[in-house]
């Protein structure tokens, strides 16, 4: 019997040297088989050949923000950040009157403040809707003006980053509740509601966004009576909302279908009405499940706002292209696209990171 009892007090030993440490990590992650070893070496060679020239172009041989196009053209070995230096305000704010450009700048700040505050779950209360309403009113005043001594600025002059943010934030904010209704409608017991929602979703999902934008800008005015005109920006905004709502509705439907039948029955059994059941029981769970596909939609729609260029609106991509059409700066497209690419990336990456944090927070505690 006692032979089976381990003697107590054995000292802790270090694991074998070939299973821990950097060498072991390299071996198990990069050189664990002959084809991975080849891949590792190939990738290393690629990085070595690509990174130094890129860094050289980006920084070492680059011309600073105050350089002129003449200097850049004489020595074309590096990036010409003088382009960004000179065109920054045009790219960011489009054709907004030069002396008034603090207004779109403030607009961007208001939006970022609203978005950052909305990320905090403590603000997820009904009264926060009023904060948003106040913020959007402020944005409207800043952009349009015409009151409080601000000069009136037509929205055809809006452009750059504020336009991108307005189109995507307002678009997604309006489309989100609509998409919830569409998703609920698609699962409704009422045949008329269901058919209506399914038809809408399938119709909108079946056409490209570009064609919807064209329809909004070219075809819609044909159907309107003479003298009635709907603002071009508003038409684009509506087209976005319609399109985003259809896509988000399907993401939410996925979440709804993942909720077990027992949750509906328990809510029904307690006497909750349909809307109470949805609001308190089903949607909180369904939306949490739908976060990854929803954020996917958010990110792709943020970028898709750049399609408004085809109907003559100048969003961030539009103003960058317009800046390139200046004869003295023609050809500096690498700098232009890299610059706006970084801006897009910052927004999309923040959304992605936030959604991961939100998923973790919502899952904490109530999952075993």
């Amino acid at each position: 019997m006692t032979d089976n009892v381990q003697s107590v007090g054995l000292p802790d030993e270090r694991p074998p040297a070939n299973t821990v440490g950097p060498i072991a990590w390299l071996r198990s992650n990069l050189f664990n088989s002959w084809y991975n070893a080849i891949l590792t070496i190939l990738v290393l060679a690629l990085l070595v050949s690509a990174i130094p020239p890129f860094v050289g172009w980006l920084l070492v041989n680059a011309h600073g923000f105050d350089s002129t196009s003449t200097v850049c053209r004489q020595d074309a070995g590096g990036a010409c950040w003088g382009f960004i230096g000179e065109k920054l305000r045009f790219i960011m704010f489009g054709m907004f009157p030069w002396d008034e450009q603090w207004r779109p700048l403030l607009t961007i700040c208001v939006f970022i403040a609203l978005l950052v505050a909305s990320c905090d779950r403590r603000f997820w209360k009904p009264w926060f809707g009023l904060v948003w309403a106040a913020g959007l009113t402020l944005v409207a005043i800043l952009m349009w003006g015409g009151v409080f001594g601000l000069t009136y600025v037509e929205n055809t002059l809006w452009g750059g980053l504020p336009l991108t943010i307005i189109l995507s934030v307002i678009g997604l904010a309006v489309a989100f509740p609509v998409s919830i209704l569409l998703a609920l409608g698609r699962r409704s017991d009422m045949p008329a509601v269901k058919v209506l929602c399914v038809t809408y979703i399938e119709l909108i999902r079946g056409v490209p966004l570009i064609s919807l934008l064209f329809m909004a800008s070219v075809m819609l005015p044909l159907f309107l009576p003479n003298g009635v005109s709907v603002d071009k920006l508003l038409r684009a905004q509506i087209a976005f909302i319609m399109f985003a709502a259809a896509y988000m509705a399907e993401a939410i439907r996925g979440g709804l279908q993942a909720i077990p039948k027992g949750q509906y029955e328990a809510a029904d059994g307690l006497g909750l009405s349909y809307w109470q059941k949805m609001r308190k029981i089903i949607l909180p769970q369904a939306l949490a499940i739908a976060i990854p596909p929803l954020v996917n939609t958010f990110i792709s729609f943020f970028k898709d706002t750049s399609l408004v260029i085809i109907i003559g609106l100048y969003d961030l991509l539009g103003t960058a292209k317009a800046a390139l059409s200046d004869p003295s700066w023609r050809g500096f497209y690498r700098e232009a696209y890299l610059f706006i690419g970084v801006i897009y990336w910052i927004f999309c990456f923040s959304m992605s990171k936030y959604s991961q944090k939100l998923e973790r927070d919502l899952n904490r505690g109530h999952r075993r």
Partner: protein, 261 residues
């Protein structure tokens, strides 16, 4: 009056004689399949009824019809004076008065135990939050789980979850409690803690309909045992009569199968 009464058997405790559930000629079909056949069932206030029968006999479907989780296609069901029809208002009224405990608990995983219990009183009964929480804590104490009130359901064992589910129903002060195989999904060592809570409820005079295979519970608590098979009520009697002197062959077969293993 119910068959049990007409046969002259006496309930274990005095009943008011006041009727709270009356099912008359209830029929239900799933497509072509006839799941409930001409169900007639009257229940008095304070009566404790155990429904048993082989799986697929329609016992769950029957009690789920009583709060309209399932719709019946023929016959009438009247609960506490309200007839269950397509009228949504009536359905919601009945559901407030009829608590239901499910086999798989069906707690709301995104809410804490306490929030699970206060949700319906606050939103359906429009009770102030403080009062709802106070009542919830008293019921949670009664099912001996008050110390877990701030946890999420996923952090509790099956038996604990089922006790929370019972407390959640009780918070609505229901007049009738329906139990749909409340111990079937539990690990064996947790069955007793749930049955103890149910026995306590029965002693307090709650009207209960319980679909269960716990024959010990039926013997000690039930006023009446209903045996269902193939969608019909085959036999109903006091537990003493039912277990010692079953009338039909189907009942005898069922009892021999569940008692001799």
């Amino acid at each position: 009056m119910s068959q049990a009464m007409s046969q002259g058997t006496k309930p274990k405790h005095t009943l008011s004689g006041e009727e709270i559930i009356r099912c008359t000629g209830v029929n239900k079909w799933y497509g072509e399949f006839h799941v409930l056949k001409n169900i007639n069932l009257n229940v008095q206030k304070g009566e404790r009824i155990v429904v048993c029968g082989p799986s697929g006999s329609g016992k769950s479907t029957m009690i789920r019809c009583l709060n309209r989780l399932e719709e019946h296609q023929k016959g009438t069901i009247v609960i506490d004076g309200i007839e269950l029809t397509n009228n949504l208002k009536n359905i919601e009224l009945v559901r407030r008065e009829v608590g239901m405990v499910f086999q798989h608990f069906n707690l709301f995983p995104h809410l804490t135990v306490l929030e699970n219990c206060t949700l319906a009183p606050i939103w359906v009964r429009k009770m102030p939050k403080a009062e709802a929480e106070e009542r919830a804590m008293s019921y949670l104490t009664r099912v001996r789980i008050a110390e877990q009130a701030r946890k999420y359901p996923g952090q509790l064992s099956g038996g604990q979850q089922q006790r929370v589910a019972i407390a959640r129903s009780l918070c609505m002060s229901p007049k009738v409690m329906l139990f749909d195989e409340p111990t079937s999904a539990l690990d064996p060592e947790m069955v007793k803690e749930v049955l103890d809570v149910m026995i306590g409820l029965a002693e307090d005079g709650m009207t209960m309909l319980c679909v269960t295979h716990e024959m010990g519970f039926a013997k000690s608590v039930a006023d009446r045992v209903i045996f269902m098979d193939r969608g019909e009520i085959v036999e109903q009697d006091t537990p003493d009569e039912f277990f010692s002197n079953p009338k039909s062959d189907r009942t005898r077969l069922f009892l021999s199968q569940i008692l001799n293993h």
